[in-house]
């Protein structure tokens, strides 16, 4: 088999190629950890044709990455990979020597790793990383390689590629980094490209660009294996979809079949769980939310908005003396029982705004009033009295728990401010657990031993403990699998209904925001560029940035696909 | 190099010599300095193997009949290495220089007797004394009395005179690499060797590389590997090995005060003579010294002068042997009848604990420390609780453990050529004229009388008799007891001949040394 090095080889268009580039039959992967064998993947079979995209979707830990890495012989040192067939260009890859694998990697198969932001060596210029792929396979001489690097960067849509090639990942934005990584994966025009979660952790606008680039490669005849937990991403590109869970393929078929007429319950749940403006007011998860007990928030007599922020300004001085205006004149108010969503790209000042609202960061300008009382202008000692009225839930609950404390202690600690007796506190803890749908057994467990969804539930329980009027949720569901996210979102909705608590809900995910919010704030570069109801924002965006944002949302309307 | 050398002399060459301690200056009051300055400076007189004073820079000398003035006649034509001539006036200047702070040890020997030095003519020097001092010439053989160029002393900086004093000696200081070595080069114009030297004219070798190697094992290994030609202070354990390896081994028992234990006779349990005697009786000093010293370090029973000292009293040396029963009886009689659970004797509830500081690493080397541990152990058998306190040199110099209040026992040596050391160590301490070297704090006119008689006795026999009386007195009253003699030892590789230990202090003499093929 010969592979040409030139970009525009007509053979690349696929016509001269055999119908399958990759054939996998009953792939099984197991790991031995401390001498114990654990099966992680079994029964994965598919074929990959030129210009075709096979997508693997599934929740975290379902074995997507392991499957993908097994295809290039890098499942891990402790992995046992077996398959009835594993054919790369009709060669039996099961018998490959390490040397043969090295020849295949990068040349025949390009791999775009998960964790895009850390997949480039932070100490080297990105150009060197891309050139390395060429050098390893003996492509051209030094100067030819550097020309090629620039060419590749340009091809993946990196502006000013000559300059970018000399910069280190740390000097590039997430989108540029992701594209540089793609450039290094396709440097030798491999005809198979495996992209493992290529858009996770990217802003929606950047995600749109990356997907477009993948689409572009597909057009040129590359075969793509796309891995994602995000159905809306998959829906854009995939010809075939494998739905995985617990290491097995639950459902497999063309994109239209799987998305439009899902057979398996899990697939249906997965599809239903994707939040969007269309799902407002509807439960995302099939799991019933526990009956919300009548837990009223303790509202002091106050008619106005729960939280009012006026002209908030926050500046940071960096080590080289430059000043970042992280928040620059932001005003908003959150009414009783209302959900205010804040959306915006990374670095737009959302978290800083949340901290200002919480009184955890000193203001450089503006005022915050909580329940009509001065909140930002008073001493921390004075604030402490009001603190039970406002709570917070973070994206990463784990780091917000003291690692030495078990769930019971964490929750009891949150009740310290209240004047409850020990017995009452204990009852309240049980009640909180019930509220967030956790079994009593978790009380004795440490956060490290809880699943992501459970942790987030504990964090919500803690936030609810002092019966707050307002909960600030900063990316509270961003790290969760879509099905778990659905459960949490449902829980939040139910809690609000039963207790009337207000939410200040921060997310970069427009779908989540539009699903949950009563009103939406769009932030960019520390400013509010647009404010309105979800309908106004999503149907009739006025600001160009908002429009770009909306346009970037992957279209995922299961209804449109049939069913 | 093989030891079966033909013995044929080779002219020139560099002797690499490994010494133990590095002094701060070449000339000074410390024996380590004396060893060095002995190579560079000439004295007026030298001591020969039979302990007889022989000419060096002085051709002859004579004391007046009243003993109060000494006349030295100097060699003619001797030049210092800076080119200035050796004159009586220059020597006289040296005497005054020593007494006014130039050399504290020289001062200790002369102070009280010395009055003035005058040049009668260029080669005739007259020393005037306030009291007769018959052993003056003997004492002048020590390295502290090396004669330096007056011109150099007067015109050069302190630093220069410290680092490279100008004398008329066989070698000249070329370079001092601090922490490493001193390089001495041959004085090509040397004309003034002592009468007991083996040849005349300049030294045979070109240079001496006088290295400082503190660790004894390293010194021995360096000698064995041929990296050095001679080493100082051979550890007792290595003695036999080197001997069988064909190396020349020299041992010089330093005259003067041996390593002796002095009792604090002013405060504490040892004010009672019986307790002192009991301590002496409780020890089998000979066994300890012979074992640790591997037969190389000599046991010394005499508590005031070493066996190499003229006028040594064997009677005093044998005064105490090992007799535990007697020791117990003496302690019982002295009222130390109680016992603690650990077996320490008590009197009126006070345990018989005695504090014994020693200059670790300086005055007492590791062999010495092992010996002191043996003493502690043996004394404990009769109920003494000896607390050994190793004291670093810095604390000693700062005057720690120098008063009767802070210790019960002390140990130390003092090299000398005569039993006149008794005067240094036992002269009573008075308010006007304190004697900090009286480590027993024993101020007794009887003892002082014996010593003063000896110091001024005209003939040797009388003097020795007087000094022996003093030694016996010290032994009888158990003011101090001997332990072992301080040694100066040398090991020389077979390819180097003619190295000898000078007889005043036992330092190596390289003037006659030569290499053989």
């Amino acid at each position: 088999m010969t592979i040409s090095d030139t970009v525009d080889d007509p053979a690349r268009l696929g016509l001269d190629w055999p119908a399958t580039r990759l054939r996998v039959d009953d792939l099984r992967v197991a790991f031995t950890v401390d001498g114990v064998r654990r099966d992680v993947v079994s029964g994965v079979s598919f074929e990959l044709a030129p210009g075709e995209c096979v997508a693997i979707v599934g929740e975290s830990g379902s074995g997507k990455s392991v499957t993908a890495r097994s295809l290039v012989g890098l499942a891990g040192r402790n992995a046992i990979v077996e398959a009835d067939a594993l054919e790369l260009h009709h060669e039996d890859a099961r018998a490959f020597t390490p040397r043969q694998w090295r020849r295949v990697r990068g040349r025949d198969v390009g791999f775009i790793l998960q964790d895009a932001l850390v997949s480039l060596d932070p100490l080297r210029p990105v150009g060197a990383e891309i050139a390395e792929a060429l050098r390893l396979h003996g492509w051209g001489d030094r100067s030819a390689r550097s020309r090629r690097v620039v060419e590749l960067l340009a091809r993946v849509g990196v502006p000013f590629p000559g300059i970018r090639a000399r910069q280190r990942p740390g000097q590039l934005s997430g989108g540029l980094r992701q594209r540089a990584l793609i450039a290094s994966a396709i440097a030798l025009d491999p005809d198979i490209v495996i992209a493992d979660e290529p858009t996770t952790a990217l802003d929606v606008t950047v995600q749109a660009q990356v997907l477009a680039e993948l689409e572009n490669m597909k057009q040129r005849g590359a075969s793509i294996i796309l891995i994602s937990h995000d159905l809306s991403v998959v829906a854009q590109l995939a010809d075939q979809i494998l739905v995985m869970r617990g290491g097995v393929v639950l459902e497999q078929g063309t994109a239209a079949e799987v998305l439009g007429a899902p057979v398996h319950d899990y697939t249906r749940a997965l599809i239903a769980a994707v939040p969007s403006e269309h799902t407002r007011g509807r439960a995302l998860s099939p799991t019933p939310v526990p009956p919300a007990a009548t837990v009223e928030a303790e509202h002091p007599v106050h008619d106005g908005p729960v939280l009012e922020a006026n002209g908030l300004i926050k500046r940071f001085v960096t080590s080289d003396g430059t000043v970042t205006r992280a928040v620059d004149g932001v005003s908003f108010s959150v009414g009783l029982g209302e959900t205010l969503g804040i959306v915006g790209e990374s670095g737009s000042g959302k978290s800083t705004t949340a901290k200002l609202a919480l009184g955890l960061e000193k203001l450089d300008g503006g005022t915050v009033r909580l329940l009509g009382q001065d909140w930002s202008g008073v001493s921390e000692r004075r604030r402490r009295r009001l603190r039970p009225r406002i709570s917070v839930v973070y994206q990463d609950p784990l780091s917000s728990f003291d690692p030495r404390w078990n769930v019971e202690r964490i929750l009891l600690d949150a009740l310290r401010g209240t004047r409850l007796s020990a017995v009452a506190r204990r009852e309240r803890v049980l009640e909180l657990l019930h509220l967030v749908g956790l079994p009593v057994e978790v009380l004795g467990r440490f956060p490290l031993r809880l699943s992501g969804g459970q942790r987030q539930r504990v964090a919500i329980a803690r936030a609810l403990a002092p019966r707050p009027s307002l909960i600030v949720l900063d990316e509270a569901v961003s790290a969760l699998d879509v099905t778990i996210q659905a459960q949490i979102l449902d829980l939040l909705v139910a809690l609000q209904r039963s207790s009337g608590v207000s939410y200040l809900f921060i997310s970069h995910d427009l779908g989540v925001i539009s699903h949950l919010s009563d009103r939406v704030l769009v932030m960019k570069d520390g400013r509010v560029v647009e404010e309105g109801t979800p309908d106004e924002i999503f149907q009739r965006p006025r600001h160009p940035y908002t429009r770009e944002l909306i346009a970037s949302i992957p279209v995922f309307d299961p209804a449109a696909l049939g069913a | 190099q093989s030891s079966s050398a033909t013995g044929q002399r080779v002219e020139g060459g560099t002797i690499v010599y490994a010494h133990q301690q590095e002094p701060a200056c070449v000339f000074g009051g410390w024996i380590e300095q004396a060893y060095l300055s002995y190579q560079v400076l000439d004295n007026l007189v030298s001591l020969d193997a039979n302990h007889k004073v022989v000419p060096w820079l002085a051709e002859s000398w004579k004391a007046s009949s009243d003993g109060l003035s000494w006349t030295f006649t100097l060699k003619k034509g001797v030049k210092f290495t800076d080119g200035t001539p050796l004159t009586a006036a220059a020597v006289a200047y040296n005497f005054d220089y020593w007494l006014t702070g130039g050399n504290s040890t020289a001062k200790v020997w002369l102070a009280g007797y010395y009055k003035s030095a005058t040049a009668v003519d260029d080669t005739t020097l007259q020393i005037n004394l306030s009291k007769p001092y018959p052993r003056l010439a003997d004492n002048l053989t020590q390295g502290y009395f090396g004669i330096q160029s007056q011109h150099a002393l007067q015109t050069r900086t302190k630093e220069q005179n410290c680092e490279a004093p100008i004398g008329s000696g066989a070698f000249i200081v070329k370079k001092w690499n601090r922490g490493q070595d001193i390089v001495l080069v041959r004085n090509k114009d040397y004309t003034s060797p002592p009468a007991n030297a083996l040849h005349t004219g300049p030294a045979h070798v070109d240079e001496i590389d006088w290295k400082f190697v503190a660790d004894p094992t390293t010194r021995v290994a360096a000698l064995q590997s041929g990296q050095v030609n001679a080493i100082y202070d051979v550890p007792a354990v290595q003695w036999k090995t080197l001997k069988s390896g064909g190396f020349q081994l020299d041992r010089y028992v330093t005259a003067g005060r041996p390593q002796q234990i002095s009792f604090n006779t002013q405060i504490g349990p040892f004010t009672d003579e019986r307790v002192r005697q009991a301590f002496a009786d409780s020890l089998d000093r000979k066994q300890i010294v012979d074992t640790i010293g591997q037969g190389v370090i000599p046991y010394e029973g005499n508590g005031s002068v070493s066996q190499a000292t003229p006028g040594y009293s064997t009677k005093a040396a044998g005064w105490y042997g090992y007799d535990a029963a007697k020791a117990n009886a003496l302690l019982d009689a002295a009222g130390w009848t109680g016992r603690t659970s650990a077996g320490v004797r008590t009197k009126n509830g006070t345990p018989l604990t005695v504090v014994f500081p020693y200059g670790a690493g300086s005055i007492i080397n590791s062999d010495g420390a092992a010996i002191l541990q043996g003493i502690k152990q043996q004394a404990s058998k009769v109920g003494f609780d000896v607390t050994l306190v190793p004291v670093p040199q810095s604390e000693l110099f700062a005057g720690k453990y120098s008063t009767p209040q802070d210790h019960d026992l002390s140990v130390g040596y003092w090299t000398a050529v005569t039993a006149g050391i008794l005067y240094v160590n036992w002269r009573p301490s008075t308010a006007d004229d304190p004697n900090y070297s009286n480590s027993a704090f024993y101020n007794d006119p009887t003892l002082e009388g014996y010593i003063l008689d000896g110091n001024s006795a005209a003939d040797l026999a009388t003097q020795n008799a007087d000094y022996q009386k003093a030694q016996d007195y010290i032994a009888e009253h158990a003011l101090s007891i001997g332990v072992y003699d301080r040694l100066s030892t040398l090991a020389v590789s077979p390819s180097l001949k003619g190295v000898w230990q000078e007889h005043a202090q036992g330092g190596p003499t390289f003037y006659d040394a030569y290499f053989v093929k």
């Binding site: 290039v72 890098l74 990697r105 390009g110 791999f111 790793l113 964790d115 850390v118 997949s119 480039l120 060596d121 100490l123 390395e132 792929a133 390893l136 990196v158 502006p159 000013f160 300059i163 740390g170 000097q171 540029l176 290094s184 950047v206 572009n216 960096t318 080590s319 080289d320 | 590095e22 701060a24 200056c25 009051g29 410390w30 300095q33 504290s104 040890t105 302190k158 601090r178 922490g179 490493q180 290295k211 400082f212 190697v213 290994a221 360096a222 590997s225 990296q227 050095v228 690493g361 300086s362 670093p392 040199q393 810095s394 604390e395 000693l396 110099f397 700062a398 005057g399 120098s402 900090y436």
Partner: protein
């Protein structure tokens, strides 16, 4: 293909560079000021430490010169007091001392009658050579050992880290004696008395280097193993890079960062380790001068050396900080 989106324009590159330079200059400037403060503190500590020393200093000086431990009369002490200005109040002595330091005058040795700067200057070369050689050896040993054993499966890895721990725990003086015993006394590969020659440098340098290498490998190994699992390393493998390529080209650089930081500390450690090693191998150097000076209370020398080592240490750490920013540009700005 989507057009170039909202990326920063390239002119930002030069502006960024300038900003970065400014940031680095600012950081270094701040560090220099901090270093000066630290040095002043160190000098002060050293000065007041000598005040706490036991005994009358003039007595000590006289006794050192005489080689005898005695008490001295006031008349004997007076000239010494005058010579060293000991009759002045402490604050004036302190002031004189500080002024001297700034002017490069560390005083005069009690014993040698020579300026302390001369004494130190003479010995410094040997010690610095030893320290630097030791650190170089340590690096070579560490890099070789870690690259060979890290991330090579449980058995080799366990052996690797066991050796690290053992090496790090070896007392330098003991190691030195054993090395001397085996290689100089036994096999006679090296001279017994080191001196300043190249041949005499190897054993002393190894004595300091082996524990240091063990110590550095511990953190390097952890970092190495972490880096081996890092996504960017996996992506290099995905490009077809071999294991050695990955180790040498990517991982080593990341793994060496903690060791670089340790090198500044290591300079201090080897300088003080020299105290021991120089005594074992009979090498000249400030270590042996220091021990001798501590033993004889030659305070100007003690204080001079201690202060000097502090200076070295502070300067070395300053350099390490700079090197650090060079190896890991991420730390420069931001």
């Amino acid at each position: 293909m989507t057009g170039p989106a909202v990326e920063p324009a390239p002119q930002a590159a030069s502006a960024l560079r300038a900003a970065r330079l400014r940031a680095v200059a600012l950081t270094i400037g701040r560090k220099v000021v901090a270093a000066v403060v630290v040095l002043w503190g160190a000098a002060t500590v050293a000065f007041f430490a000598q005040l706490a020393l036991p005994g009358d200093r003039a007595t000590v000086i006289l006794n050192i010169r005489a080689g005898q431990a005695q008490q001295r009369t006031a008349a004997e002490l007076a000239p010494i007091n005058a010579e060293y200005g000991l009759q002045h109040p402490v604050i004036q002595q302190y002031w004189d001392y500080l002024r001297g330091l700034v002017l490069g005058d560390f005083g005069t040795s009690y014993q040698q009658f020579r300026p302390v700067t001369a004494i130190i200057g003479e010995q410094l070369g040997a010690t610095v050579t030893l320290s630097v050689t030791a650190i170089l050896f340590a690096w070579v040993l560490m890099v070789a050992w870690v690259t060979l054993t890290a991330g090579r499966g449980p058995r080799l890895g366990a052996l690797g880290s066991l050796v690290d721990v053992v090496a790090a725990g070896l007392p330098a003086y003991w190691l030195g004696i054993i090395l001397l015993l085996v290689f100089a006394l036994g096999l006679r590969w090296f001279p017994v008395i080191g001196g300043t020659g190249v041949n005499g440098l190897i054993l002393p340098a190894l004595t300091l280097a082996i524990p240091l290498a063990g110590f550095m490998s511990q953190s390097t190994r952890a970092e190495f193993e972490r880096a081996l699992e890092a996504p960017f390393v996996i992506s290099a493998r995905m490009r077809g890079m071999s294991d050695w390529g990955v180790r040498l080209r990517h991982v080593l650089r990341h793994a060496s960062i903690p060791a670089v930081t340790l090198s500044g500390w290591a300079l201090g450690a080897t300088l003080s380790g020299a105290v021991i090693v120089e005594s074992i191998f009979s090498r000249p150097g400030i270590g042996s001068v220091l021990v001798a000076a501590v033993n004889s209370q030659d305070l100007p020398v003690v204080v001079g050396i201690v202060t000097l080592v502090a200076v070295f240490y502070v300067v070395a750490n300053l350099l390490v900080d700079v090197a650090y920013t060079l190896i890991d540009p991420r730390l420069g700005a931001s």
